[in-house]
């Protein structure tokens, strides 16, 4: 059974249909990357999957359970999905450690000590333990993104969503984060990553979903999508970036 199975997902904003009949699945331990031009519906899709946005039609099966049906415990669903944002979204008034422990205390009901232990474990995993007492403003972009990943992983999610994780970073930090995501992939973390970063797609993934105008145009291995794909739109999109690594 797939961890995540999306069937005929549709989302409209007024008269505009931003997601058209989306179908795809994500297996346990698998990593998929969603690419496509700005405004094609990638981030909306990610937000529909954890019900930050409610889809209008279709089904989302999470470990076989339809999480679009009325009565779904949306907050519980969200706790099972880690979410990492483009702009890091760390809480500015909390230290790195407190950013990670907040949900552990509030949602998992861990004591302060238990939450600290778990958070330190995740910060160590991200090589960020020495920065635990720093506030977001005292960290670089790459460090912030590592804390954000540690915060998401601390909840032991079934899947990790990334929304443009490298877009706000300089090339050096971007490569750092890509290497980290790749490491998580080899650790068996299930991930779904929205990105424009061709380097990330080539370095990390086995499978790329290409979206355009709210539709999935293709799902294929990155090398096949990036070099001379039969779909002219895909060739056009990757035309300038397909051959480079950054």
């Amino acid at each position: 059974m797939a961890l995540l199975e999306v069937k005929g997902l549709v989302k409209r904003f007024g008269d505009r249909t931003v997601l058209k009949d989306i179908d795809f699945s994500l297996e346990e331990g698998e990593t998929k990357v969603i690419m496509g031009p700005s405004g094609c519906g990638k981030s909306t899709l990610l937000r529909c999957l954890n019900r930050l946005i409610d889809p209008d039609e279709g089904q989302i099966l999470f470990r076989g359970e339809d999480v679009t049906r009325v009565g779904t415990d949306v907050r519980l669903l969200r706790q099972r999905i880690g979410f990492v944002f483009q702009q890091f979204a760390l809480y500015r008034h909390l230290t790195a450690l407190e950013n990670v422990t907040l949900a552990l205390r509030k949602l998992k009901g861990l004591s302060g000590r238990e939450a600290d232990e778990k958070a330190l474990l995740e910060l160590r995993r991200m090589d960020m333990e020495t920065h635990r007492a720093k506030y977001p403003a005292q960290l670089s972009g790459g460090q912030k993104q590592r804390i954000a990943i540690a915060r998401a992983l601390a909840m032991d999610p079934a899947v990790l969503f990334f929304d443009e994780p490298t877009s706000a970073l300089d090339p050096e930090m971007s490569r750092e984060v890509v290497a980290l995501i790749n490491r998580l992939r080899f650790e068996g973390v299930t991930m779904l990553c929205v990105t424009h970063d061709v380097f990330l797609a080539r370095y990390v993934t086995a499978q790329v979903i290409f979206m355009d105008a709210g539709e999935i145009r293709a799902e294929d291995a990155p090398e096949r999508l990036l070099s001379g794909h039969h779909d002219a739109r895909i060739r056009e999109f990757f035309g300038n970036s397909g051959g480079s690594d950054a």
Binding site: N50, L52, R75, L76, L77, R78, Q79, I81, F83, F85, Q87, A89, L90, Y91, R92, H93, L102, A103, K106, L107, Y135, P136, A137, Q138, R151, M155
Partner: protein, 217 residues
């Protein structure tokens, strides 16, 4: 009677001035926080009530509201003490202004942080208590200090309902000595001293909860 003696006599009203100011500040703080919390929680049926409160209480003069409460309510059998009358007039008017200060601070929070908290599975109330209020209060400090200063400056209205604060002491002394200039100058100095203490207190709290880079990026 020299200037020192005048200051000493008026200083007997400092305690009452401070009491009235603190009581009204506390009332305003509670009212302002209630407004911002209820607004954020979007509890059905409260929106119009909150709008009406902030609209009406910002428009009515403090003295008029004070007289309605202190002199008007006894006519329908409700007797309110002078201090409570001040809290219900000056305090609630300050609350209406503070509600707007808090609203402005809330609007300057990073929406991404709130989406991240929602995506994490935190409940509305948890987001409010753990993320929004701690950040909002830090951002609202300058506006709060401004409003607390206004409360201090309106506190002499307590004199009209019989609270023996600084201005009442000054008026009483001026009527017997006819040395108005020195007496009201001394009263002004005392208010200035209280303002400096208030300012130092707020700054100390601000410093205690200061976070590197917060509010500057």
């Amino acid at each position: 009677m020299n200037f020192g003696n005048i200051l000493w006599v008026l200083a007997q009203g400092v305690g009452q001035t401070v009491l009235v100011t603190l009581a009204c500040m506390l009332t305003g703080l509670c009212a302002g926080l209630s407004v911002v919390v209820l607004r954020r929680l979007q509890i059905r049926g409260t929106a119009w009530l909150l709008e009406a409160y902030t609209y009406v209480f910002r428009a009515v003069p403090v003295l008029v509201l004070l007289f309605i409460i202190f002199f008007g309510l006894p006519a329908i059998g409700i007797k309110v003490s002078p201090l409570v009358s001040m809290m219900l007039s000056l305090g609630l008017i300050a609350g209406a202004y503070l509600g707007e200060v808090f609203r402005g601070a809330m609007e300057s929070l990073d929406p991404q942080e709130l989406v991240a908290a929602e995506a994490m599975g935190l409940a509305r109330g948890q987001i409010l208590v753990s993320i929004e209020l701690p950040q909002m209060l830090r951002l609202a400090v300058p506006g709060m200090l401004n409003e607390f200063t206004t409360v201090l400056k309106y506190s002499p209205f307590a004199y009209t309902v019989g609270i023996p604060e600084i201005t009442r002491q000054a008026t009483a002394l001026a009527s017997t000595t006819l040395r108005g200039v020195e007496i009201y100058l001394a009263a002004g100095l005392l208010y200035f001293g209280i303002y400096q203490l208030l300012r130092a207190g707020v700054r100390a709290v601000e410093k205690r909860f200061e976070i590197p880079g917060f509010g500057t990026n």
